[in-house]
Amino acid sequence: MVELKVTRRSAFEGLHAIGVSGKVSATPSALATRFSFRGDHEAAQRASKAFGVTLPLALLKAETNGTRTAISLGPDEWLLIAEDGAAQLLADEIEKALGTHFHSLVDISHRNTGFDVSGAEAATFLATGNPLDLHISAFPVGMATRTIFSKAEIVLWRKSADTFHVEIWRSFLPFMWGLLEEAAHEL
């Protein structure tokens, strides 16, 4: 019998730190549990109770409570982020709350990875690869959306005036990170 030993490795291993003093820095987020949740508004309301964060019914919004965050990506799609190791517990809780109500819950903890971009120049920094208007008047605090960074799909969430959270598929991370390293030279 072959004994398999699988160790979870951070997608950030081997990447250089990015930071321009006084302007911007990119900080890898801690390992997390993530779910893609799909269903109607009734499903979202029931899942909210189990998850402990109200799943925003309005589009392009993030709701957060402690270590847990719910982001509305589409009219019937949410990204749920929770502390690492909570996958089984959360899946059970949400399944119990939903019962036979039609929905889909997919564990994407290991598909995504995330990091924070913070600093006075954070919006300018991200605008090097993102075509959205990231000015605070157009992209206010609490707004979140799926969008792109160059050719990679990301989820962008403004946590505060000068802090953004980026969720990206881990295989796209080196691509985005490389572009950000280049962009940091231009700030």
Binding site: G74, E77, R146, T147, I148
Partner: protein, 99 residues
């Protein structure tokens, strides 16, 4: 950059969208009863107008919804977008001063 008004998310850059062909092409309800010509018509023939065209787009790197879009193929100007499932818009409203 061309901004496309997604009926769900509002105006968003075109890079987030994918084109998905002509809109309101309904699959025959009973394919077994169609003739080869009717089936070929459904599969391959599109209106391809020079001017106002109703087409499907998908906000793939956004809300991921399909929606319908009225676009002028000459000027590339987007005249209207509406959610999939809503009735086909009357093109008469776009005739005057569309270009």
């Amino acid at each position: 950059m061309l901004l496309i008004p997604c009926p769900y998310c509002g105006e968003r850059p075109e890079l987030e969208f994918r084109y998905a062909g002509e809109a309101h092409v309904a699959r025959p309800a009973d394919p077994m009863k169609t003739t080869d010509e009717e089936w070929a018509e459904y599969l391959y023939f599109r209106s391809n107008p020079k001017g106002i065209h109703i087409e499907r787009w998908r906000h793939i790197s956004g809300c991921a919804r399909f929606f319908n879009c009225v676009r002028d193929t000459v000027s590339d100007k987007i005249l209207k977008t509406y959610k999939a499932g809503e009735p086909r818009v009357d093109l008469k409203q776009f005739e005057k001063g569309a270009n």
